[in-house]
């Protein structure tokens, strides 16, 4: 691994140095074994300061509310603390003080279990995200599969929440989230499969190394996979425009309708956690992870990946502030009629390119040719397939007809103008 990173404690480009030195120092001073108790505590504090505080609280809660506020031409939180920065803490104190109601006819045990099951996988997801050349908790060789598998566990918790509340709106939310997750997992994984074919690895650390080696991000090499990932993960995370399982204007709050207090707060907080995990995964796979075209020699890589994660998260905030919501049947048909064929086409193209690359033993520069071809093919596939499915935006009249006199019928126009 060609990296300038040294093992000196003052080299903050790799934070494991300083933690190792601290723990070794403590082990020498303290009685035998105490350091094993202290290590998780220190790890928890470090994680809170480095990840939870800036990402979950400041970007996830405060930043989202502030940016949505600016989109909607209002101020957002600005009362609690300087610039309203303490708002997330005030919110969580309020949530803890609230009573966590359980309806009379709800299934109490499952309703209690659901938030707990919802929280655990979120923490597990971050284990495989590489924060630097050596900063990775578990560099397992099947990290991508692990991520996909673990990230579909909260759907189960959401279904438990919706089913146990014994409320019709909750039931709708539960049914919707199951069908959405089942439908969108397919194109999402097919898109990621193309990445695996190209990079010849399932390990996230190796993918970052691949992108460093070829000096190209996989978003350029495989734009279709990125689009599929962004849409698919938006559906699974219930983010607008696909927040159908919690559609507040239709089914009140979906599977969260009967939750209150900190039980609801866990769902809310972990929703942000999952979105951040998805953003971290997306920026690792598609945006080069902790590498930044040589900049990672000088800027700490963990800062780069956290910054990219926040930028990716901004995309979620942006779409949330702008777009209306799709209907459940439209979402389903979009997955099966549009995304699945495009994903299969993408896989075919990638597999062919990989075959050409391997059989002819081409030079590294061929990646850029493939990237250009893939971008053109992606645009062509998106446009052609949507037109093939009958998408004709120019046929929708965008202006009403104008008349000057009241009274009488105006016959409906026939043919092209109506759809």
């Amino acid at each position: 691994m060609s990296s300038l990173v040294t093992s000196n404690w003052y080299d903050i480009r790799d934070l494991s140095n300083i933690s190792r030195d601290i723990l070794e120092g403590l082990a020498n001073v303290l009685p035998h074994g105490v350091v094993y108790v202290l290590a998780p505590v220190l790890g928890f504090i470090a994680t809170f300061i480095l990840v939870v505080l800036p990402s979950q609280l400041i970007v996830g809660v405060y930043g989202e509310r502030k940016i949505i506020g600016r989109v909607q031409s209002r101020f957002g939180p600005n009362r609690v603390g300087p610039f309203g920065l303490v708002q997330p803490i005030a919110d969580s104190i309020k949530l803890m003080q609230k009573e966590a109601l359980t309806p009379k006819y709800a299934d109490r045990a499952i309703m209690w279990l659901a938030p707990i099951i919802f929280v655990a996988p979120c923490v597990m997801l971050f284990a495989v995200i590489p924060f630097g050349p050596r900063m990775i908790l578990a560099n397992i060789p099947v990290a991508l599969l692990y991520f996909v598998a673990v990230s579909s566990m909260p759907v189960l918790a959401a279904f438990m929440a919706g089913w146990s509340a014994n409320n019709k709106y909750s039931l709708f939310g539960a049914i919707r989230i199951i069908s959405m997750a089942v439908s969108y997992e397919v194109p999402l994984v097919l898109g990621l499969l193309g990445i695996v074919l190209f990079t010849q690895t399932l390990s996230l650390q190796d993918m970052v190394e691949w992108q460093r080696h070829y000096h190209i991000w996989l978003i350029a090499a495989e734009p279709v996979a990125f689009v599929l990932y962004f849409i698919g993960v938006g559906v699974e995370l219930n983010r607008t425009p696909t927040d159908i399982a919690e559609a507040e204007s239709e089914i009140v709050a979906g599977y969260l309708t009967e939750y209150s207090g900190m039980k609801w707060g866990l769902f809310y907080g972990m929703d942000i956690g999952y979105a951040l995990a998805a953003a971290a995964f997306g920026s690792t796979v598609f945006l080069g992870g902790w590498s930044m075209f040589g900049l990672d020699h000088w800027v700490p890589p963990w800062m780069i990946i956290i910054g990219k994660t926040h930028l990716f998260y901004f995309l979620f905030i942006w779409t949330r502030g702008t777009l209306p919501r799709l209907r459940i049947d439209q979402l389903m048909s979009f997955a099966w009629k549009f995304m699945l064929p495009v994903a299969l086409f993408n896989l075919l193209v990638i597999a062919t390119e990989r075959m050409i690359w391997v059989q002819n033993d081409l030079a590294d520069g061929i990646v850029y040719v493939f990237a250009a071809v893939n971008i053109v093919l992606a645009l062509a596939a998106l446009v052609f397939w949507s037109r093939f499915l009958g998408y004709r935006p120019e046929n929708t009249p965008k202006k009403p007809r104008m008349v000057r006199e009241a009274g009488g019928y105006v016959p409906l126009p026939t043919g092209k103008e109506t759809r």
Partner: protein, 370 residues
């Protein structure tokens, strides 16, 4: 949605009276089969305040504030409709300046009401609060104008029998022109954000189709009727307050779906801007009101006065027995009558469609239940 060997049965889903998208206390007892609505029964009356009976106990002038509170999003139009009916009953003439001020106020009210209608409608399609915040922002400036002239923002109580209660203040005209100048970019913004938005189009196009025949038979009015392609507007068909002098057009839709109703509302706002500009340009001098006795006693008879309120044909039916208060006071609420076609528009669609249709009707529950 039953298929294969799975036995399914429909169940009843209560949408409302406490639900984020019923715009008040309105209840739809929807029988659903999976996501599909197979029957919808409307339950209303949660906000009934017995206004028509109360009005029989008060004098004609005292009834004006009541009309504010029926349709609380368009108090000016409600005042205007009631005052027109009383004036017709009592034979009171309104001076030219009074008429022009009334037109300005009614059209500003239409702008504020339509921007609210579009905002909440788009909110129902799921755009997370952004369009409704933009709409409320523009509405605030119009409400500031109302505050400047009448002292109140929501329930203005501005029109009087024989004219309006106060003349326009000196600073009104520049302020109004400033608001109009702001409104045009706002309308372009909404158009760019929504009529070009593919998700918005698929959510509203061919959803809640109200065919021309049904629109006429259910006596729908306003943007509902015009969205179905029927060119009917009281301002053109039976001009009042000198609407015949102003140059404006009626927008009509194509097939009567929710998207058409949205397009009609958006274009009507542009036409309202045009009308207000003309009215401001040609604002006549003279008195703003005719002096009438406070306890007016119109001669025996009955009258039906109607205006084009933002929601449609708003009518007031009054019967006088020469007493100081009306013998019978009846309101024809456009929202209630537009709502009556809800079942025909929602059955067959999904729950999400039903919410969009309800939003596109633009109901105000204060007016539906009175």
């Amino acid at each position: 949605m039953s298929s294969g060997g799975i036995k399914t049965e429909p169940f009843i889903l209560n949408i409302g009276p406490q639900h984020p998208s019923t715009h008040g206390v309105f209840r739809v007892k929807a029988t659903v089969d999976g996501e599909r609505v197979i029957d919808a029964e409307m339950v209303m009356g949660y906000l009934h305040r017995s206004m028509e009976k109360l009005a029989e106990e008060r004098t004609y002038t005292q009834n004006i504030p009541f009309t504010d509170r029926t349709d609380y999003l368009s108090s000016m139009s409600n005042n205007l409709g009631y005052c027109l009916a009383v004036e017709r009953l009592a034979g009171v003439d309104v001076p030219a300046r009074g008429n022009a001020i009334r037109v300005i106020m009614a059209e500003f009210q239409r702008l504020s009401s339509h921007s609210m209608a579009i905002g909440t409608f788009v909110n129902d399609t799921g755009a997370w609060q952004t369009p409704v915040m933009w709409s409320l922002r523009e509405r605030e400036y119009i409400l500031d104008l109302f505050e400047m002239t009448s002292g109140a923002r929501l329930t203005c109580n501005y029109m009087r029998i024989g004219g309006v209660s106060f003349d326009l203040p000196k600073e009104f005209e520049p302020a109004a022109r400033k608001v109009l100048a702001r409104l045009k970019p706002y309308l372009d913004e909404m158009e760019g954000m929504l009529t070009e938005n593919e998700i918005f189009i698929v959510r509203t196009r061919n959803v809640g189709v109200l065919p021309q025949e049904l629109a006429i038979n259910s006596s729908a009015s306003g943007p509902m009727l015009r969205g179905s392609g029927v060119p009917w507007d009281i301002r053109k068909a039976e001009p009042y307050c000198g609407y015949e002098k102003y140059d404006f057009e009626i927008p009509i839709g194509y097939q009567g779906d929710s998207f058409d109703r949205f397009l009609v509302r958006l274009e009507e706002m542009r036409q309202s801007v045009k009308i207000i500009e003309q009215a401001l340009d040609g604002l006549p001098g003279g008195p703003h009101s005719t002096q009438v006795p406070l306890a007016i006693r119109p001669p025996k008879g009955e009258v039906y006065g109607r205006v084009e309120s933002p929601r449609g044909e708003l009518g007031y039916y009054l019967v006088s027995d020469e007493g100081p208060s009306p013998y019978r006071f009846h309101i024809r609420p456009p929202a209630l009558i537009n709502l009556s076609a809800l079942r025909a528009m929602t059955v067959g669609g999904t729950i999400a469609d039903a919410i969009v249709v309800l939003g596109s009707i633009d109901i105000v529950l204060g007016e539906v239940d009175r």
